[in-house]
Protein backbone atom coordinates (compact mmCIF):
# COMPACT_ATOMS: atom_id res chain seq x y z
CA UNK A 1 0.00 0.00 0.00
CA UNK A 2 2.85 2.33 0.84
CA UNK A 3 4.52 1.70 -2.51
CA UNK A 4 1.26 2.21 -4.31
CA UNK A 5 0.78 5.61 -2.75
CA UNK A 6 4.37 6.45 -3.65
CA UNK A 7 3.52 5.70 -7.26
CA UNK A 8 0.44 7.84 -7.07
CA UNK A 9 2.44 10.67 -5.51
CA UNK A 10 5.06 10.58 -8.24
CA UNK A 11 2.36 10.74 -10.92
CA UNK A 12 0.82 13.70 -9.10
CA UNK A 13 4.22 15.35 -9.00
CA UNK A 14 4.60 14.92 -12.75
CA UNK A 15 1.12 16.31 -13.39
CA UNK A 16 1.87 19.31 -11.17
CA UNK A 17 4.74 20.23 -13.50
CA UNK A 18 2.14 21.71 -15.88
CA UNK A 19 0.77 24.34 -13.46
CA UNK A 20 4.33 24.84 -12.25
CA UNK A 21 5.52 25.64 -15.78
CA UNK A 22 2.76 28.21 -16.17
CA UNK A 23 3.60 29.74 -12.79
CA UNK A 24 7.32 29.89 -13.55
CA UNK A 25 6.73 31.50 -16.93
CA UNK A 26 4.64 34.28 -15.40
CA UNK A 27 7.05 34.84 -12.49
CA UNK A 28 10.18 34.93 -14.63
CA UNK A 29 8.67 37.18 -17.29
CA UNK A 30 7.33 39.55 -14.64
CA UNK A 31 10.59 39.57 -12.71
CA UNK A 32 12.61 40.19 -15.87
CA UNK A 33 10.25 42.91 -17.09
CA UNK A 34 9.94 44.58 -13.66
CA UNK A 35 12.36 47.51 -14.31
CA UNK A 36 10.63 48.14 -17.66
CA UNK A 37 7.23 48.16 -16.01
CA UNK A 38 8.50 50.76 -13.55
CA UNK A 39 10.21 52.87 -16.19
CA UNK A 40 7.47 52.74 -18.81
CA UNK A 41 4.46 53.16 -16.58
CA UNK A 42 1.29 54.00 -18.40
CA UNK A 43 3.18 55.40 -21.42
CA UNK A 44 3.81 51.76 -22.38
CA UNK A 45 0.29 51.31 -23.63
CA UNK A 46 -0.48 55.01 -24.07
CA UNK A 47 2.11 56.10 -26.63
CA UNK A 48 2.83 55.07 -30.20
CA UNK A 49 6.52 55.84 -30.21
CA UNK A 50 8.84 52.83 -29.85
CA UNK A 51 12.34 54.23 -29.88
CA UNK A 52 15.53 52.72 -28.50
CA UNK A 53 17.04 56.17 -28.03
CA UNK A 54 20.62 57.14 -28.75
CA UNK A 55 22.64 53.96 -28.30
CA UNK A 56 25.99 55.65 -29.03
CA UNK A 57 25.94 58.03 -26.07
CA UNK A 58 26.35 57.12 -22.45
CA UNK A 59 23.04 56.16 -20.86
CA UNK A 60 21.24 58.84 -18.91
CA UNK A 61 19.18 58.42 -15.78
CA UNK A 62 15.50 59.04 -16.30
CA UNK A 63 13.04 58.62 -13.42
CA UNK A 64 15.68 56.66 -11.56
CA UNK A 65 16.35 54.20 -14.39
CA UNK A 66 19.45 54.11 -16.56
CA UNK A 67 18.32 54.25 -20.19
CA UNK A 68 19.67 55.52 -23.53
CA UNK A 69 18.93 59.20 -24.21
CA UNK A 70 15.48 59.66 -25.76
CA UNK A 71 14.38 56.08 -25.22
CA UNK A 72 10.63 55.54 -25.16
CA UNK A 73 8.83 52.23 -25.34
CA UNK A 74 5.24 52.75 -26.46
CA UNK A 75 3.35 49.83 -27.94
CA UNK A 76 -0.01 51.40 -28.73
CA UNK A 77 0.54 50.87 -32.47
CA UNK A 78 1.15 47.16 -31.89
CA UNK A 79 -1.85 46.82 -29.62
CA UNK A 80 -3.99 48.44 -32.30
CA UNK A 81 -2.39 46.21 -34.95
CA UNK A 82 -3.05 43.10 -32.88
CA UNK A 83 -6.66 43.98 -32.12
CA UNK A 84 -7.49 45.20 -35.64
CA UNK A 85 -6.02 42.16 -37.40
CA UNK A 86 -7.64 39.74 -34.95
CA UNK A 87 -11.09 41.32 -35.11
CA UNK A 88 -10.95 41.63 -38.89
CA UNK A 89 -9.94 37.97 -38.99
CA UNK A 90 -12.91 37.06 -36.78
CA UNK A 91 -15.18 39.08 -39.04
CA UNK A 92 -14.03 37.00 -42.04
CA UNK A 93 -13.82 33.71 -40.18
CA UNK A 94 -17.16 33.67 -38.37
CA UNK A 95 -19.56 33.50 -41.36
CA UNK A 96 -17.22 31.18 -43.26
CA UNK A 97 -16.86 28.88 -40.26
CA UNK A 98 -20.61 28.77 -39.62
CA UNK A 99 -21.26 28.03 -43.29
CA UNK A 100 -18.57 25.36 -43.36
CA UNK A 101 -19.88 23.69 -40.23
CA UNK A 102 -23.46 23.65 -41.58
CA UNK A 103 -22.23 22.35 -44.92
CA UNK A 104 -20.24 19.55 -43.28
CA UNK A 105 -22.93 18.59 -40.79
CA UNK A 106 -26.00 18.82 -43.02
CA UNK A 107 -25.19 19.13 -46.71
CA UNK A 108 -22.12 17.01 -47.33
CA UNK A 109 -22.84 13.54 -48.73
CA UNK A 110 -22.39 10.86 -46.06
CA UNK A 111 -19.69 9.06 -47.99
CA UNK A 112 -17.60 12.21 -48.48
CA UNK A 113 -18.17 13.70 -45.03
CA UNK A 114 -15.11 12.15 -43.30
CA UNK A 115 -12.80 13.27 -46.10
CA UNK A 116 -14.27 16.77 -46.27
CA UNK A 117 -14.19 17.33 -42.54
CA UNK A 118 -10.62 16.06 -42.47
CA UNK A 119 -9.77 18.67 -45.11
CA UNK A 120 -11.06 21.41 -42.82
CA UNK A 121 -9.21 19.96 -39.83
CA UNK A 122 -5.99 19.86 -41.84
CA UNK A 123 -6.13 23.62 -42.36
CA UNK A 124 -5.64 23.94 -38.61
CA UNK A 125 -2.45 21.86 -38.57
CA UNK A 126 -0.61 23.69 -41.35
CA UNK A 127 2.45 25.22 -39.63
CA UNK A 128 2.13 28.96 -39.35
CA UNK A 129 5.42 29.59 -41.15
CA UNK A 130 4.07 27.65 -44.15
CA UNK A 131 0.99 29.88 -44.13
CA UNK A 132 3.41 32.80 -44.12
CA UNK A 133 5.24 31.42 -47.13
CA UNK A 134 1.95 31.00 -48.98
CA UNK A 135 0.98 34.52 -47.92
CA UNK A 136 4.17 35.98 -49.36
CA UNK A 137 4.06 33.98 -52.55
CA UNK A 138 0.32 33.81 -53.34
CA UNK A 139 -1.81 36.02 -51.12
CA UNK A 140 0.15 39.31 -51.14
CA UNK A 141 0.40 39.47 -54.96
CA UNK A 142 -3.29 38.50 -55.12
CA UNK A 143 -4.23 41.40 -52.84
CA UNK A 144 -1.92 43.79 -54.63
CA UNK A 145 -3.21 42.98 -58.13
CA UNK A 146 -6.82 41.83 -57.74
CA UNK A 147 -8.41 42.01 -54.29
CA UNK A 148 -7.02 45.47 -53.46
CA UNK A 149 -8.03 47.18 -56.73
CA UNK A 150 -11.35 45.33 -56.53
CA UNK A 151 -12.13 46.65 -53.06
CA UNK A 152 -10.92 50.10 -54.10
CA UNK A 153 -13.22 50.10 -57.14
CA UNK A 154 -16.25 49.42 -54.94
CA UNK A 155 -15.41 51.11 -51.62
CA UNK A 156 -12.59 53.40 -52.78
CA UNK A 157 -14.54 56.53 -51.81
CA UNK A 158 -13.90 55.56 -48.19
CA UNK A 159 -10.20 56.33 -47.57
CA UNK A 160 -9.91 53.32 -45.25
CA UNK A 161 -10.61 50.95 -48.16
CA UNK A 162 -8.55 52.71 -50.82
CA UNK A 163 -5.38 50.88 -51.82
CA UNK A 164 -3.94 54.06 -53.34
CA UNK A 165 -3.55 55.45 -49.82
CA UNK A 166 -1.02 52.70 -49.07
CA UNK A 167 2.12 51.26 -50.63
CA UNK A 168 -0.05 48.79 -52.50
CA UNK A 169 2.42 45.95 -51.99
CA UNK A 170 -0.26 43.63 -50.67
CA UNK A 171 1.57 43.19 -47.37
CA UNK A 172 -0.44 44.69 -44.56
CA UNK A 173 -3.50 44.55 -42.37
CA UNK A 174 -5.72 42.76 -44.90
CA UNK A 175 -3.15 40.08 -45.70
CA UNK A 176 -2.57 39.45 -41.99
CA UNK A 177 -6.32 39.30 -41.34
CA UNK A 178 -6.94 36.85 -44.19
CA UNK A 179 -4.15 34.51 -43.09
CA UNK A 180 -5.37 34.70 -39.50
CA UNK A 181 -8.93 34.05 -40.66
CA UNK A 182 -7.75 30.92 -42.48
CA UNK A 183 -6.01 29.71 -39.36
CA UNK A 184 -8.95 30.22 -36.99
CA UNK A 185 -11.82 29.21 -39.30
CA UNK A 186 -11.21 25.46 -38.76
CA UNK A 187 -11.11 26.01 -34.98
CA UNK A 188 -14.54 27.66 -34.96
CA UNK A 189 -15.94 25.34 -37.64
CA UNK A 190 -14.96 22.09 -35.91
CA UNK A 191 -16.24 23.33 -32.54
CA UNK A 192 -19.59 24.17 -34.14
CA UNK A 193 -19.64 20.98 -36.23
CA UNK A 194 -19.24 18.82 -33.12
CA UNK A 195 -21.94 20.79 -31.33
CA UNK A 196 -24.38 20.47 -34.26
CA UNK A 197 -23.96 16.69 -34.06
CA UNK A 198 -25.15 16.70 -30.46
CA UNK A 199 -28.36 18.64 -31.01
CA UNK A 200 -31.19 16.34 -29.86
CA UNK A 201 -33.00 14.54 -32.68
CA UNK A 202 -36.40 15.57 -31.29
CA UNK A 203 -35.68 19.26 -31.92
CA UNK A 204 -34.94 18.62 -35.54
CA UNK A 205 -37.95 16.33 -35.97
CA UNK A 206 -40.37 18.78 -34.40
CA UNK A 207 -39.10 21.58 -36.64
CA UNK A 208 -39.58 19.38 -39.71
CA UNK A 209 -43.06 18.46 -38.48
CA UNK A 210 -43.94 22.17 -38.33
CA UNK A 211 -43.12 22.39 -42.02
CA UNK A 212 -39.71 24.04 -41.86
CA UNK A 213 -37.40 23.57 -44.80
CA UNK A 214 -34.16 21.75 -44.03
CA UNK A 215 -32.24 24.99 -44.07
CA UNK A 216 -34.70 26.54 -41.64
CA UNK A 217 -34.32 23.53 -39.38
CA UNK A 218 -30.59 24.19 -39.24
CA UNK A 219 -30.62 27.96 -38.90
CA UNK A 220 -33.72 28.50 -36.79
CA UNK A 221 -33.70 25.54 -34.42
CA UNK A 222 -30.25 23.96 -34.39
CA UNK A 223 -28.03 27.05 -34.49
CA UNK A 224 -29.77 28.78 -31.56
CA UNK A 225 -29.24 25.72 -29.35
CA UNK A 226 -25.49 25.68 -29.99
CA UNK A 227 -24.88 29.41 -29.82
CA UNK A 228 -22.99 29.24 -26.52
CA UNK A 229 -20.59 26.69 -27.97
CA UNK A 230 -20.22 28.91 -31.03
CA UNK A 231 -19.24 31.84 -28.81
CA UNK A 232 -16.73 29.58 -27.07
CA UNK A 233 -15.25 28.55 -30.41
CA UNK A 234 -15.02 32.18 -31.49
CA UNK A 235 -13.20 33.18 -28.29
CA UNK A 236 -10.88 30.19 -28.76
CA UNK A 237 -10.13 31.39 -32.29
CA UNK A 238 -9.56 34.91 -31.00
CA UNK A 239 -7.00 33.57 -28.53
CA UNK A 240 -5.15 31.90 -31.38
CA UNK A 241 -5.28 35.00 -33.57
CA UNK A 242 -4.00 37.34 -30.85
CA UNK A 243 -0.90 35.25 -30.25
CA UNK A 244 -0.13 34.16 -33.80
CA UNK A 245 3.41 35.09 -34.76
CA UNK A 246 5.13 33.73 -37.84
CA UNK A 247 2.42 34.05 -40.45
CA UNK A 248 1.56 37.59 -39.33
CA UNK A 249 5.21 38.56 -39.20
CA UNK A 250 5.68 37.39 -42.78
CA UNK A 251 2.67 39.07 -44.39
CA UNK A 252 1.92 42.11 -42.22
CA UNK A 253 4.62 44.33 -43.71
CA UNK A 254 6.21 45.07 -40.34
CA UNK A 255 5.08 48.59 -39.48
CA UNK A 256 6.78 50.64 -36.78
CA UNK A 257 5.34 53.59 -34.91
CA UNK A 258 2.27 54.46 -36.94
CA UNK A 259 -1.37 53.47 -36.93
CA UNK A 260 -2.85 51.89 -40.05
CA UNK A 261 -4.63 54.37 -42.35
CA UNK A 262 -6.16 51.73 -44.63
CA UNK A 263 -6.73 47.98 -44.57
CA UNK A 264 -3.76 47.72 -46.96
CA UNK A 265 -1.35 49.55 -44.65
CA UNK A 266 1.47 47.52 -43.07
CA UNK A 267 0.97 46.76 -39.40
CA UNK A 268 2.77 45.00 -36.59
CA UNK A 269 1.26 42.83 -33.91
CA UNK A 270 2.63 42.39 -30.41
CA UNK A 271 3.67 38.79 -31.05
CA UNK A 272 5.37 39.57 -34.35
CA UNK A 273 7.09 42.58 -32.83
CA UNK A 274 8.61 40.58 -29.98
CA UNK A 275 10.12 38.20 -32.49
CA UNK A 276 11.35 40.76 -35.00
CA UNK A 277 12.84 43.24 -32.54
CA UNK A 278 14.91 41.15 -30.13
CA UNK A 279 18.04 41.50 -32.24
CA UNK A 280 17.93 45.27 -32.29
CA UNK A 281 16.78 45.47 -28.67
CA UNK A 282 19.88 43.52 -27.66
CA UNK A 283 22.03 46.41 -28.93
CA UNK A 284 20.78 48.52 -26.02
CA UNK A 285 23.57 48.36 -23.40
CA UNK A 286 21.20 49.27 -20.54
CA UNK A 287 18.97 46.28 -21.34
CA UNK A 288 15.82 48.37 -20.97
CA UNK A 289 14.70 47.58 -24.55
CA UNK A 290 14.92 43.82 -23.99
CA UNK A 291 13.08 44.20 -20.70
CA UNK A 292 10.38 46.21 -22.45
CA UNK A 293 10.02 43.37 -24.96
CA UNK A 294 9.57 41.07 -21.98
CA UNK A 295 6.83 43.41 -20.79
CA UNK A 296 5.09 43.01 -24.16
CA UNK A 297 5.40 39.24 -23.83
CA UNK A 298 3.93 39.46 -20.34
CA UNK A 299 1.00 41.61 -21.50
CA UNK A 300 0.35 39.29 -24.45
CA UNK A 301 0.57 36.27 -22.16
CA UNK A 302 -1.95 37.71 -19.71
CA UNK A 303 -4.35 38.69 -22.53
CA UNK A 304 -4.26 35.31 -24.28
CA UNK A 305 -4.45 33.48 -20.97
CA UNK A 306 -7.58 35.42 -20.04
CA UNK A 307 -9.13 34.88 -23.48
CA UNK A 308 -8.37 31.15 -23.48
CA UNK A 309 -9.60 30.68 -19.94
CA UNK A 310 -12.80 32.47 -20.91
CA UNK A 311 -13.22 30.21 -23.95
CA UNK A 312 -12.74 27.07 -21.85
CA UNK A 313 -15.24 28.27 -19.29
CA UNK A 314 -17.81 29.05 -21.99
CA UNK A 315 -17.36 25.76 -23.83
CA UNK A 316 -17.36 23.76 -20.61
CA UNK A 317 -20.51 25.53 -19.42
CA UNK A 318 -22.13 24.72 -22.74
CA UNK A 319 -21.27 21.04 -22.43
CA UNK A 320 -22.66 20.90 -18.91
CA UNK A 321 -25.94 22.45 -20.00
CA UNK A 322 -26.19 19.99 -22.84
CA UNK A 323 -25.62 16.95 -20.66
CA UNK A 324 -28.30 17.88 -18.13
Amino acid sequence: MKRASGFRLSLTGIALLIPLALFIIVVFLAQYAWPAIGFNGIRFIGTIDWSLGNLYMNPVTVRGYSVPLGANYGILAFIVGTLLSSFLALLFALPVAVGTAIFLAEAAPDRLRPALSMLVELVAVVPSVVFGLWGIYVLAPLISHYIGPGITAVFGFIPFFNIHNSTGSGFGLLAAAIVLALMITPIIATTLYDALHQVPRELRESAVALGATRFEVVTKTMLPTVRVTLVGGVVLGLGRALGETMAVLMVSGGALNYLPKTIFTPISTMAAFILSQLDSALSDPTGMAVKSLAEIALVLFVITLAVNALARVIVRGATLVRNV
Binding site: R3, A4, F7, R8, L11, T12, I14, A15, L17, I18, P19, A21, L22, I25, F28, L29, Y32, A97, G99, I102, F103, A107, A108, M118, L119, V123, V125, V126, P127, S128, V129, V130, G132, L133, I136, Y137, V138, L182, P186, T213, F215, G239, R240, G243, T245, M246, A271, I274, L275, L278, A294, A297, L300, F301, T304, L305, N308, A309, A311, R312
Partner: protein, 289 residues
Protein backbone atom coordinates in the same frame (compact mmCIF):
# COMPACT_ATOMS: atom_id res chain seq x y z
CA UNK B 1 -65.07 33.45 -58.50
CA UNK B 2 -62.38 31.12 -59.57
CA UNK B 3 -59.93 33.99 -59.09
CA UNK B 4 -60.69 34.28 -55.36
CA UNK B 5 -60.57 30.53 -55.06
CA UNK B 6 -57.09 30.40 -56.53
CA UNK B 7 -55.86 33.46 -54.71
CA UNK B 8 -55.29 31.62 -51.44
CA UNK B 9 -53.02 28.86 -52.76
CA UNK B 10 -51.10 31.39 -54.95
CA UNK B 11 -50.43 33.55 -51.93
CA UNK B 12 -49.24 30.61 -49.88
CA UNK B 13 -47.06 29.29 -52.60
CA UNK B 14 -45.33 32.63 -53.12
CA UNK B 15 -44.35 32.64 -49.44
CA UNK B 16 -43.34 29.05 -49.83
CA UNK B 17 -41.36 29.85 -52.92
CA UNK B 18 -39.58 32.63 -51.10
CA UNK B 19 -38.66 30.26 -48.30
CA UNK B 20 -37.46 27.68 -50.79
CA UNK B 21 -35.32 30.26 -52.58
CA UNK B 22 -33.91 31.56 -49.28
CA UNK B 23 -33.02 28.00 -48.32
CA UNK B 24 -31.39 27.29 -51.67
CA UNK B 25 -29.32 30.47 -51.39
CA UNK B 26 -28.44 29.51 -47.83
CA UNK B 27 -27.18 26.07 -48.88
CA UNK B 28 -25.22 27.63 -51.73
CA UNK B 29 -23.57 30.08 -49.33
CA UNK B 30 -22.66 27.20 -47.01
CA UNK B 31 -21.07 25.37 -49.91
CA UNK B 32 -19.24 28.54 -50.86
CA UNK B 33 -17.99 28.92 -47.28
CA UNK B 34 -16.61 25.39 -47.42
CA UNK B 35 -14.85 26.17 -50.69
CA UNK B 36 -13.36 29.32 -49.12
CA UNK B 37 -11.67 27.07 -46.57
CA UNK B 38 -10.80 24.18 -48.86
CA UNK B 39 -9.46 26.06 -51.88
CA UNK B 40 -6.71 28.00 -50.04
CA UNK B 41 -5.54 24.73 -48.45
CA UNK B 42 -5.46 22.94 -51.78
CA UNK B 43 -3.73 25.91 -53.40
CA UNK B 44 -1.19 26.01 -50.57
CA UNK B 45 -0.46 22.30 -50.80
CA UNK B 46 -0.23 22.35 -54.59
CA UNK B 47 1.99 25.45 -54.68
CA UNK B 48 4.39 23.97 -52.17
CA UNK B 49 4.30 20.58 -53.84
CA UNK B 50 5.11 21.98 -57.28
CA UNK B 51 7.66 24.60 -56.21
CA UNK B 52 9.21 22.33 -53.61
CA UNK B 53 9.42 19.17 -55.69
CA UNK B 54 11.24 20.99 -58.47
CA UNK B 55 13.99 21.83 -55.98
CA UNK B 56 14.42 18.19 -54.92
CA UNK B 57 17.70 16.58 -55.82
CA UNK B 58 20.37 14.43 -54.22
CA UNK B 59 22.37 17.47 -53.14
CA UNK B 60 19.37 18.71 -51.16
CA UNK B 61 19.91 15.86 -48.74
CA UNK B 62 23.69 15.65 -48.85
CA UNK B 63 24.91 19.23 -48.59
CA UNK B 64 24.22 22.19 -46.34
CA UNK B 65 23.34 25.73 -47.24
CA UNK B 66 25.17 29.00 -46.77
CA UNK B 67 21.94 30.95 -47.14
CA UNK B 68 22.05 31.27 -50.93
CA UNK B 69 22.15 27.81 -52.42
CA UNK B 70 23.16 24.29 -51.54
CA UNK B 71 21.12 21.74 -49.62
CA UNK B 72 19.18 21.27 -46.44
CA UNK B 73 21.24 18.61 -44.70
CA UNK B 74 22.01 20.77 -41.64
CA UNK B 75 18.37 21.84 -41.31
CA UNK B 76 17.03 18.29 -41.71
CA UNK B 77 19.43 16.94 -39.10
CA UNK B 78 18.63 19.88 -36.83
CA UNK B 79 14.87 19.48 -37.07
CA UNK B 80 15.27 15.76 -36.34
CA UNK B 81 17.44 16.42 -33.30
CA UNK B 82 15.17 19.16 -31.94
CA UNK B 83 11.90 17.25 -32.40
CA UNK B 84 13.19 13.94 -31.09
CA UNK B 85 14.91 15.82 -28.28
CA UNK B 86 11.65 17.49 -27.35
CA UNK B 87 9.92 14.09 -27.24
CA UNK B 88 12.56 12.82 -24.80
CA UNK B 89 11.41 15.46 -22.32
CA UNK B 90 7.76 15.67 -23.28
CA UNK B 91 6.76 11.99 -23.45
CA UNK B 92 7.50 10.96 -19.85
CA UNK B 93 6.01 14.17 -18.43
CA UNK B 94 3.04 14.36 -20.79
CA UNK B 95 2.13 10.67 -20.50
CA UNK B 96 2.67 10.73 -16.74
CA UNK B 97 0.44 13.77 -16.33
CA UNK B 98 -2.15 12.15 -18.60
CA UNK B 99 -2.06 8.97 -16.48
CA UNK B 100 -2.59 11.04 -13.35
CA UNK B 101 -5.52 12.92 -14.89
CA UNK B 102 -7.14 9.72 -16.12
CA UNK B 103 -6.56 7.47 -13.10
CA UNK B 104 -6.53 9.83 -10.11
CA UNK B 105 -7.62 13.18 -11.52
CA UNK B 106 -11.35 12.99 -10.84
CA UNK B 107 -11.03 15.62 -8.12
CA UNK B 108 -10.54 19.33 -7.67
CA UNK B 109 -6.78 19.21 -8.27
CA UNK B 110 -7.35 17.21 -11.44
CA UNK B 111 -9.77 19.69 -12.89
CA UNK B 112 -7.46 22.60 -12.03
CA UNK B 113 -4.56 20.89 -13.79
CA UNK B 114 -6.81 20.06 -16.74
CA UNK B 115 -7.92 23.69 -17.01
CA UNK B 116 -4.38 25.12 -16.72
CA UNK B 117 -3.11 22.55 -19.21
CA UNK B 118 -5.71 23.71 -21.73
CA UNK B 119 -4.82 27.35 -21.17
CA UNK B 120 -1.11 26.54 -21.54
CA UNK B 121 -1.97 25.06 -24.94
CA UNK B 122 -3.30 28.45 -26.01
CA UNK B 123 -0.21 30.37 -24.94
CA UNK B 124 1.47 32.18 -27.85
CA UNK B 125 4.57 30.21 -28.76
CA UNK B 126 6.61 33.40 -29.09
CA UNK B 127 6.00 34.19 -25.42
CA UNK B 128 7.28 30.76 -24.51
CA UNK B 129 10.31 31.33 -26.75
CA UNK B 130 11.01 34.61 -25.00
CA UNK B 131 10.71 32.96 -21.60
CA UNK B 132 13.18 30.28 -22.66
CA UNK B 133 15.50 32.95 -24.00
CA UNK B 134 15.73 34.83 -20.71
CA UNK B 135 15.96 31.68 -18.60
CA UNK B 136 17.90 29.03 -20.52
CA UNK B 137 19.80 30.97 -23.17
CA UNK B 138 20.80 33.91 -20.92
CA UNK B 139 20.09 32.80 -17.36
CA UNK B 140 21.66 29.34 -17.49
CA UNK B 141 24.20 30.53 -20.05
CA UNK B 142 23.42 27.74 -22.51
CA UNK B 143 23.36 30.21 -25.41
CA UNK B 144 21.49 29.26 -28.57
CA UNK B 145 21.46 25.50 -28.34
CA UNK B 146 19.73 22.24 -29.15
CA UNK B 147 18.89 21.70 -25.48
CA UNK B 148 17.17 25.07 -25.04
CA UNK B 149 15.22 24.52 -28.26
CA UNK B 150 14.16 20.99 -27.32
CA UNK B 151 12.99 21.94 -23.83
CA UNK B 152 11.01 24.87 -25.24
CA UNK B 153 9.27 22.59 -27.74
CA UNK B 154 8.68 20.07 -24.95
CA UNK B 155 6.85 22.67 -22.84
CA UNK B 156 4.61 23.27 -25.85
CA UNK B 157 3.83 19.60 -26.43
CA UNK B 158 3.32 18.41 -22.84
CA UNK B 159 -0.22 19.82 -22.38
CA UNK B 160 -1.37 18.28 -25.71
CA UNK B 161 0.15 14.95 -24.82
CA UNK B 162 -1.32 14.98 -21.32
CA UNK B 163 -4.86 15.59 -22.58
CA UNK B 164 -4.68 13.08 -25.44
CA UNK B 165 -3.23 10.45 -23.08
CA UNK B 166 -5.99 11.15 -20.57
CA UNK B 167 -8.68 10.75 -23.23
CA UNK B 168 -7.30 7.49 -24.57
CA UNK B 169 -6.71 5.96 -21.13
CA UNK B 170 -10.24 6.84 -20.06
CA UNK B 171 -11.55 4.70 -22.90
CA UNK B 172 -9.98 1.64 -21.30
CA UNK B 173 -12.88 -0.17 -19.59
CA UNK B 174 -13.02 0.08 -15.78
CA UNK B 175 -13.63 -3.68 -15.64
CA UNK B 176 -10.07 -4.28 -16.87
CA UNK B 177 -8.69 -2.27 -13.94
CA UNK B 178 -11.02 -4.07 -11.53
CA UNK B 179 -9.99 -7.45 -12.88
CA UNK B 180 -6.32 -6.60 -12.42
CA UNK B 181 -6.85 -5.32 -8.89
CA UNK B 182 -8.90 -8.42 -8.07
CA UNK B 183 -5.90 -10.53 -9.09
CA UNK B 184 -3.86 -8.65 -6.52
CA UNK B 185 -1.97 -6.35 -8.87
CA UNK B 186 -0.37 -3.21 -7.51
CA UNK B 187 -1.43 0.26 -8.62
CA UNK B 188 1.78 0.64 -10.60
CA UNK B 189 1.25 -2.67 -12.38
CA UNK B 190 -2.35 -1.82 -13.20
CA UNK B 191 -1.41 1.62 -14.50
CA UNK B 192 1.47 0.48 -16.69
CA UNK B 193 0.73 -3.12 -17.67
CA UNK B 194 -3.05 -2.92 -17.97
CA UNK B 195 -4.26 0.62 -18.57
CA UNK B 196 -1.30 2.06 -20.43
CA UNK B 197 -0.79 -0.96 -22.64
CA UNK B 198 -4.49 -1.08 -23.50
CA UNK B 199 -4.55 2.64 -24.24
CA UNK B 200 -1.20 2.62 -26.04
CA UNK B 201 -2.53 3.36 -29.57
CA UNK B 202 -4.04 6.61 -28.31
CA UNK B 203 -0.85 7.56 -26.51
CA UNK B 204 1.21 6.86 -29.62
CA UNK B 205 -1.22 9.07 -31.54
CA UNK B 206 -0.56 11.87 -29.08
CA UNK B 207 3.19 11.43 -29.39
CA UNK B 208 2.95 11.56 -33.18
CA UNK B 209 0.79 14.70 -33.10
CA UNK B 210 3.30 16.24 -30.72
CA UNK B 211 6.04 15.37 -33.18
CA UNK B 212 4.09 17.08 -35.96
CA UNK B 213 3.73 20.21 -33.83
CA UNK B 214 7.42 20.39 -33.02
CA UNK B 215 8.48 19.83 -36.62
CA UNK B 216 6.30 22.74 -37.74
CA UNK B 217 7.18 25.23 -35.01
CA UNK B 218 9.30 28.29 -35.70
CA UNK B 219 8.72 31.19 -33.33
CA UNK B 220 9.87 29.54 -30.09
CA UNK B 221 13.02 28.23 -31.76
CA UNK B 222 14.38 31.45 -33.22
CA UNK B 223 15.65 32.71 -29.86
CA UNK B 224 16.40 29.35 -28.33
CA UNK B 225 17.96 27.19 -31.04
CA UNK B 226 19.38 30.04 -33.09
CA UNK B 227 20.58 29.02 -36.53
CA UNK B 228 23.61 27.29 -37.95
CA UNK B 229 24.75 26.64 -41.50
CA UNK B 230 26.63 23.58 -40.36
CA UNK B 231 25.46 20.08 -39.56
CA UNK B 232 24.92 19.53 -35.84
CA UNK B 233 28.16 18.50 -34.15
CA UNK B 234 26.64 16.60 -31.26
CA UNK B 235 26.83 19.36 -28.65
CA UNK B 236 23.66 20.10 -26.72
CA UNK B 237 24.62 23.49 -25.31
CA UNK B 238 26.79 26.40 -26.47
CA UNK B 239 26.09 25.43 -30.07
CA UNK B 240 23.31 26.83 -32.27
CA UNK B 241 21.49 24.40 -34.54
CA UNK B 242 19.64 24.75 -37.84
CA UNK B 243 16.06 23.68 -38.57
CA UNK B 244 13.75 23.54 -41.57
CA UNK B 245 11.19 26.16 -40.55
CA UNK B 246 13.95 28.76 -40.18
CA UNK B 247 14.88 28.12 -43.81
CA UNK B 248 11.28 28.80 -44.87
CA UNK B 249 11.13 32.03 -42.90
CA UNK B 250 14.44 33.60 -43.91
CA UNK B 251 15.35 32.16 -47.30
CA UNK B 252 12.15 33.46 -48.92
CA UNK B 253 13.39 36.98 -48.13
CA UNK B 254 16.67 36.44 -49.98
CA UNK B 255 16.94 37.93 -53.47
CA UNK B 256 18.09 34.63 -55.00
CA UNK B 257 15.97 32.13 -56.92
CA UNK B 258 18.03 29.28 -55.46
CA UNK B 259 17.26 30.46 -51.92
CA UNK B 260 13.51 30.59 -52.71
CA UNK B 261 13.70 27.06 -54.08
CA UNK B 262 15.29 25.92 -50.82
CA UNK B 263 12.54 27.63 -48.81
CA UNK B 264 9.87 25.77 -50.78
CA UNK B 265 11.77 22.50 -50.53
CA UNK B 266 11.95 22.96 -46.74
CA UNK B 267 8.23 23.79 -46.65
CA UNK B 268 7.51 20.63 -48.64
CA UNK B 269 9.52 18.49 -46.23
CA UNK B 270 7.77 20.04 -43.20
CA UNK B 271 4.35 19.67 -44.81
CA UNK B 272 5.04 16.04 -45.76
CA UNK B 273 5.78 15.18 -42.14
CA UNK B 274 2.89 17.22 -40.70
CA UNK B 275 0.28 16.02 -43.20
CA UNK B 276 1.47 12.40 -43.18
CA UNK B 277 1.16 12.26 -39.39
CA UNK B 278 -2.18 14.07 -39.24
CA UNK B 279 -3.82 12.20 -42.11
CA UNK B 280 -2.41 8.87 -40.94
CA UNK B 281 -3.66 9.39 -37.40
CA UNK B 282 -7.13 10.37 -38.56
CA UNK B 283 -7.48 7.45 -40.97
CA UNK B 284 -6.28 4.91 -38.41
CA UNK B 285 -8.40 6.30 -35.58
CA UNK B 286 -11.63 7.04 -37.43
CA UNK B 287 -13.24 3.56 -37.43
CA UNK B 288 -12.61 3.15 -33.70
CA UNK B 289 -14.30 6.34 -32.55
Amino acid sequence: MSATFEAVPTKRSSLERRRMITSAIGWALCGLAFLLVAIPLLDLVLTILIKGASAFSITLFTTSSNGVKGGLLAAIVGTTVLSLGSLVFAVPIGVGAGMYLSEYGQNRLGSVIRFLSDTLTGMPSVVLGYFSYITMVIGFGWQFSALAGSITLAIMIVPYLARITELSLQRVPVSMREAAFALGARERTVAFNVVLSAGLPGVVTGVLLGLAISVGETAPLIYTAGWSNYVWNGKFIHQPIGYLTYVIWTFIDQPYKSAHALAFAAALLVMLVVLAINIGVRIVLRPKI
